[in-house]
Amino acid sequence: MRDVAVIGVGMIKFGRYPEKTVPELAGQAALLALKDAGVDMKDIELMASGNLYQSNAMVGQRILQTIGQTGIPVINVANACATGSTAFREAYFAVASGAYDMTMAVGSEQMGKMGLLGGGAAGGDRAYSTEGVLGSGLMPAVFGMAGVEHMRKYGTTQEQFAKVSVKNHKHSMHNPYSQYQTEVGLEDVLNARVVSWPNTLYMCCPTGDGAAAAVLCSMDKARQYTTKPIRVAASVLTSDPWTQRDLIMPDINTLTRNAAKEAYEKAGIGPEDLSLIELHDCFATAELLHYENLGICGEGEAGRMIDEGATAVGGKIPVNASGGLLSKGHPLGATGVANVCEVVWHLRGDAGNRQVEGAKVGMAHVIGLGSACTLQILEKV
């Protein structure tokens, strides 16, 4: 398997674009990434397109029809919230395997004003739906309960989870691609209406529209295109292994830990070597759990980490300098590629006012419920 570099990235500001089509959103991001790489569609040998809500509608091909019908192989990828990052991984392996020299990954989503992360009562006869009758299987409750489990184990408080929202909203003030750019105070977060305890409105990521893209090529050719190729040190994907309660209460921890172990081994580093992390804060509760899952602190220490400001930009290990999903937004298929874009910008020194100084190695993490976990480790060469 040969070394692969990211030579171009691009994304559009996440937000609401009801008048655009998905191929238009994705096409825009793709053109930005191509321009960033200094290549055009004729150089791309394979496209992996990540889109969840139109996963049966040939989004990848419709992107090519918008920006360049070269007849190349297109893979349409769906993996819940890990859709975009799985598409990135497909584009990565296509080059790493030696089969293709230059590929592109595009993640896109148009969610409109779908609440509850797209879930809703099962259509049809209310009598058949168990939602709200036998507990809840929707994302807010799933991540509410995951947070409550952490409270049970370690005494973590709602306030500590709320601090994640404060931090990420503050970070997004410097991210022009973020859906929201508003600071919120701790009291604002705690007093906002509860969605699924302990998560209040500001502790839940918004739905929205967006797209992001990345161009990858073999490392030995990368310097023909850029002075700052970013090496993919690891690209890992796991699913949920059997654990005691996983089938009833989705276990977001074990598969992340498995992915982290594999990723650190492949990249030959430990968590202490990371300069920054973009992780999956779909809900504020998730972020603290992942500090421990990704090994940036010991068991039960995540509350202390957020209290000490260790994960703010300027702190020991900045998490979600982009504003995270909480503020930047979470158009499902786009997120996994967008967090790669963000890490790449920091590693190149191009992240503007939110730049993590001296960034050398970054991690992009996504969890898709059902479940999938992707981890990419990227490094400056």
């Binding site: 009598a127 058949y128 168990t130 709200g132 009758v133 699924s196 059997w242 089938l247």
Partner: protein, 177 residues
């Protein structure tokens, strides 16, 4: 070439329809409700999920049913074609599950899909047989102060809705024991 089949619908020898009186004749109560089936003498009950077993015998309370893997002992709700822990495809023994358990974790849901009354307590209850269930916790104000980790809870069942055929749909929930 056959005759157009629709012709038979407008045959002149079809019986005359009763005069329309604005819907009143259509139901005994004078209104029409999509959710209500016409009065049915025999109502049947059915469980909201297949792993809730109801009984015709009124002395037998409904109970939850699980399966246990003969190979590794992993216990599941309902029936399984294979064990996803040890991959055994040996037929699994049925396990009658307790109606008492412990509260593992909860969340209090304030925003839900249309038609679901909020706030309510969504919970994971651990049963002594080594399996957990997703359920609501009723009989307590939905406030974290009232929910203690590990607290003993008791299963109850009740009819929650009626389906289009007039069957009562029975669901379970737990309440503090």
């Amino acid at each position: 070439m056959g005759r157009c089949p629709r012709r038979s619908i407008i045959q002149k020898d079809r019986p005359a329809l009763p005069a329309y009186d604005g819907h009143k004749q259509l139901t005994p109560k004078g209104g029409y409700h999509l959710a209500e089936a016409p009065a049915v003498e025999q109502k049947t009950q059915r469980p909201i999920v297949p792993f809730l077993r109801l009984s015709d015998d009124p002395a037998q309370k409904p109970y939850l049913v699980g399966s246990r893997c003969a190979g590794c002992g992993a216990t599941y709700l309902g029936t399984r074609m294979a064990c996803s822990r040890c991959f055994s495809t040996e037929p699994m023994g049925e396990v009658k599950l307790s109606d008492k358990g412990e509260l593992h974790v909860f969340s209090i849901v304030h925003q839900s899909a249309p038609g679901i009354p909020t706030p309510y307590v969504a919970a994971i209850v651990d049963l002594p047989e080594g399996v957990s269930v997703r359920c609501n916790i009723n009989g307590v104000e939905p406030d974290p102060k009232n929910l203690k980790f590990g607290m003993p809870v008791q299963m109850v069942t009740e009819t929650v809705s009626t389906d289009r055929e007039g069957n009562e749909v029975v669901a379970f929930s737990f309440r503090p024991a």
